[in-house]
């Protein structure tokens, strides 16, 4: 029985009741949603309150503080919160979020904006009220007091992580290369780090390779080290100091106080670490520098500000050549220092030679912990006199900071044997400019307009007007007219080819007239009764051709009926019938008719023919 109950078809009443249930649920949901919206609007228009809070009121210089500004009674920020001046903190704006709470039927909404505060110095500070403006009114939060302690790493013996910066020379000379080193050391895993480099104002800065990763033991503790190096060149003796540097990092600290082992910088597995992450803002103190000016004593005349240690090498492409030939003098200056500043080598002129200098090339590479440069000067030398000519020593004066004195790097003189040119050709020194790599862009000496056009083209009209416009219009309109004419003719031709009725109608009069003309030839033969037959066939044929009927075998009465059907007046139709009967009578019954009577029949037939042709 139970099975039969379950398999029984549903009663209509059950279906209807479930339908009502579904409808009721939907209505309730809709009402709830509307109520939620109304309540939300009401809540938004309700109490408007601004509050501010921080995640911690006591922190070190290495910590960051989250400031949260909360506005209740709103689902979105009416305006951007106005923070008080915070000169002792670096402020980074975070995002904003809104939330709606329903507790015991009471709905409340709020929106929060977050800020990240990074302390710049230790001390006690008050974060003043945060203000919000809404519809011309200003709302503000309560002030918050926070206490910033010195960095933990400076007080701890074995800090979790810390950064250092130093230079290899504290009292460099102006333009002397000094090596700046920044290190980030940590004994826990770091998952994120962002370095804010110090201000290098007053220095020319070049990178010394990529960052290095290695490990180091400090106070019996293994630290992972990330090291960055830069080559600095003080631009003046007033360059001062290298500013403070900061690094913000996220460290993974194991729960229960025991720290996890050292992992690679940014290379560790965040999800593999069973610990919590903390964000640290680490800093290193500024480095004061005592930059010394270059001494005046012993400064060579040709000194161009090179500071470092350099060597010079010179060579020519060939030692024997003829007047007018060219050879390349290659002078290579290498060394560690501000070689980039070396612009030109002296002497710029060599007696007996015409010189065409090329653009010098400069390459930098890192050797050890220092930047090492190679600058190559190439000059095309063209001897303009024969004999033994000498390329004088190529000298580069520089200041050696190690020795504390000026030095001169130089080469030995190069002797070239120049023979007289046997061909006695005039010396075209200008051709030397075509040496490889010595091409120069064309110099524009002046600008002017191009000359007038003097050809006959100026006399030709280039815009349509008058007759030419009509000609253009005609050439545009004539083709479609021709086409339409041809199309009409083609259509007519097609109809003529396919519709016999049209052909018969078109040819009816002509055919009938021809028959009457043939009949006329028999008019003078009084016994020839076929004359009347011809007239009758002509008239009947006309009616048949016009009405597309075979009327030759029709009686005059039938012809009359056809004419009446075609809408001809009864009197005229009757006249036609009577004339046709008369012709049949003359043809088959009557005796000879005189020529005058036969003539009269012909005239009447012609008249009737014209009448029928016009009417049909």
């Amino acid at each position: 029985m139970a099975r039969s109950d379950t398999q029984a078809p549903r009663r209509p009443g059950t279906v209807r009741s479930r339908g009502f249930l579904h409808l009721g649920i939907r209505l309730l949901l809709a009402l709830a949603w509307v109520g939620f919206l109304v309540a939300g609007t009401a809540a938004e228009s309700g109490a408007f309150e601004v509050s501010a809070r921080v995640d911690k009121t006591e922190a070190t210089l290495e910590d960051q503080i989250f400031l949260t500004v909360s506005i209740s009674g709103q689902r979105r920020l009416p305006s951007d919160p106005i923070l008080p001046p915070l000169p002792d903190f670096s402020v980074t704006k975070g995002g904003s979020s809104s939330q709606t709470n329903i507790v015991n039927g009471s709905i409340s909404t709020s929106v929060e904006a977050t800020y990240l505060l990074t302390p710049r110095r230790a001390g006690s500070f008050t974060i003043g009220p945060v203000r919000i403006e809404k519809k011309g009114r200003t709302y503000q939060s309560q002030p918050i007091s926070v206490k910033i302690l010195p960095a933990a790493s400076s007080t701890e013996e074995r800090p979790m992580a810390f950064v250092t910066q130093h230079v290899d020379v504290q009292n460099p000379y102006v333009h002397q290369q000094i090596v700046y080193t920044f290190r980030f050391l940590r004994r826990v895993q770091s998952v994120e780090a962002e370095w804010d480099p110090p201000s290098f104002q007053g220095f020319w800065v070049e990178d010394l390779g990529k960052e290095r990763q290695y490990e180091k033991i400090l106070n019996g503790q293994r630290y992972a080290v990330t090291e960055l190096k830069k080559a600095l060149y003080p631009l003046s003796e007033n360059s001062g100091q290298i500013g403070e540097t900061r690094l913000t990092c996220t460290l993974v600290v194991q729960r229960g106080g025991a720290q996890r082992g050292v992992d690679n910088f940014l290379g560790g597995s965040f999800f593999g670490a069973r610990g919590q992450t903390i964000t640290k803002n680490l800093g290193a103190k500024p480095i004061p520098l005592d930059i010394r000016p270059l001494p005046e004593a012993g400064r060579p005349e040709a000194f161009e500000g090179l500071v470092g240690s350099f060597a010079v090498r010179a060579e020519t492409g060939q030692s024997r050549l003829r007047v007018g030939d060219s050879t390349t003098l290659t002078v290579t200056v290498t060394g560690s220092g501000n070689l980039r500043d070396l612009v030109e080598l002296s002497p710029e002129e060599i007696p007996g030679f015409k010189i065409y200098p090329d653009k010098p090339s400069f390459q930098v590479d890192v050797r050890g912990d220092r930047l090492h440069g190679t600058k190559v000067f190439k000059k095309a030398l063209v001897p303009i006199e024969h004999g033994t000519l000498e390329v004088p020593p190529q000298e580069v004066p520089y200041f050696d900071p190690e020795k504390g004195s000026y030095q001169i790097a130089g080469t030995a003189p190069i002797r070239l044997t120049v023979e007289e040119n046997g061909e006695k050709e005039p010396l075209h020194l200008v051709t030397a400019t075509a040496l490889p790599g010595s091409k120069s862009s064309i110099k524009i000496l002046g600008k002017d307009i191009l000359p007038i056009h003097t050809g006959l083209a100026g006399a030709r009209r280039q815009a349509p007007s008058g007759m030419s416009l009509y000609a253009a219009l005609t050439s545009l309109l004539l083709p479609p007219c021709i086409f339409l004419a041809c199309y009409g003719r083609k259509r007519r031709q097609d109809r003529l080819e396919t519709d016999q009725h049209i052909v018969r109608r078109k040819e009816a009069r002509k055919k009938a007239t021809r028959l009457l003309r043939e009949a006329k030839r028999r008019i003078r033969q009084p016994g020839d009764k076929e004359y009347f037959g011809e007239l009758s066939r002509g008239l009947k044929g006309l009616v048949g051709d016009k009405l597309n009927l075979n009327t030759l075998a029709c009686t005059p009465v039938e012809i009359e009926r056809c004419l009446l059907d075609k809408g001809m007046e009864a009197e005229k139709a009757q006249g036609a019938r009577e004339f046709l009967e008369e012709l049949e009578y003359d043809q088959y019954v009557s005796t000879r008719l005189e020529a005058g009577e036969r003539e009269a029949r012909h005239k009447k037939a012609q008249k009737l023919l014209a009448q029928l042709d016009k009417r049909l």
Binding site: G458, M467, S468, A472, I482
Partner: protein, 294 residues
């Protein structure tokens, strides 16, 4: 009975084709044949035709010859007068505008030079000399107005920017003729390639027809303008009492948006707008009543 009808139709069709070819062969009366052009010697050109008015078309040759001669003998004022006489007679030719532009450059009238070069460019859109001279003239202008770079439209619609109105009209007429010829051919012969030709020629002739219409508007109702005076204040309204927004110098190019009581509402290529006194500038449109007649 049908046979004679067909014979007659064939004769008429042949006649229609003959007429069509005749139309193709007839040259436009506006364009002199090369033989005619070559037949006129400079000496003939220099000698004005007797019994004709000064503006008669026959005089264009001699006026042009005299103007060119005056230019080459550094009599620029005289040359400018002769060139302008040719233009005022309704003879619109890019070479004449080009020469007039050159003459104004020599006289030192930069605005008029740019205006004439721009008019010439409507009729000689592919002329390299013209582009060079216009660029040179623009480089002499005091006002640096940032112009929009050529758009993709310039590349895609190359025929529009590379042909003048007359060339577009001729191309349109030829394509129009091709289309109707194809239609006529299709009427009597059923051919696949003729159908393709029909639709292709229809498409191209429609494009060329639309281009010719646009070019005619550009040539005769062009809203472009050039400042002819040394400098002119551009005001906020069409009155001398209105605030001066900025000052334009000779040769500055603009587009005329509106005209009111002898003032033009203009916009520069960089979007700046204002009102300038109409007599200060020249219109770019090719019209018989030359606005810059001296």
């Amino acid at each position: 009975m049908n046979e004679p009808v067909v014979n007659k139709t064939t004769t008429r069709l042949s006649l229609a084709w003959a007429l069509l070819f005749l139309i193709l062969w007839i040259p436009s009366p506006a364009l002199p044949t090369p033989t005619e052009a070559r037949a006129r010697t400079p000496l003939e050109e220099a000698e004005p035709s007797r019994g004709t008015t000064a503006h008669a078309p026959e005089d264009v040759h001699s006026l042009l010859f005299l103007a060119n001669q005056a230019y080459m003998e550094d009599r620029y004022e005289e040359a400018a007068g002769l060139y302008e006489m040719i233009v005022e007679s309704g003879h619109l030719n890019g070479h004449v505008f080009f020469n007039l532009g050159n003459t104004h450059i020599r006289i030192g009238e930069l605005g008029r030079a740019i205006l004439n070069y721009k008019k010439a460019s409507l009729l000689l859109p592919r002329d390299g000399d013209l582009k060079a001279n216009l660029q040179y003239a623009r480089s002499l202008a005091k006002d640096r107005i940032e112009e929009a770079s050529p758009s993709l439209w310039n590349t895609l619609a190359f025929w529009y920017f590379g042909m003048n109105l007359w060339e577009l009209l001729i191309a349109f007429a030829v394509l129009n003729l091709l289309f109707w010829s194809s239609a006529l051919f299709n009427l009597y012969r059923n051919s696949e390639w003729a159908k393709w030709t029909l639709w292709l020629s229809l498409l191209v002739s429609l494009v060329l027809g639309a281009s010719a219409g646009m070019k005619a508007r550009e040539s005769f109702r062009n809203a472009g303008g050039v400042l002819l005076e040394d400098e002119a204040p551009v005001r906020a309204g069409f009155s001398r009492n209105d605030t001066t927004l900025f000052v334009l110098h000779e040769g500055a190019e603009f587009t005329i948006l509106d005209e009111e009581q002898g003032w033009w509402k203009i916009v520069l290529a960089d979007g700046k707008k204002g009102w300038v006194a109409a007599p200060s500038g020249g219109r770019l449109a090719l019209t018989r009543d030359h606005p810059i007649a001296r």
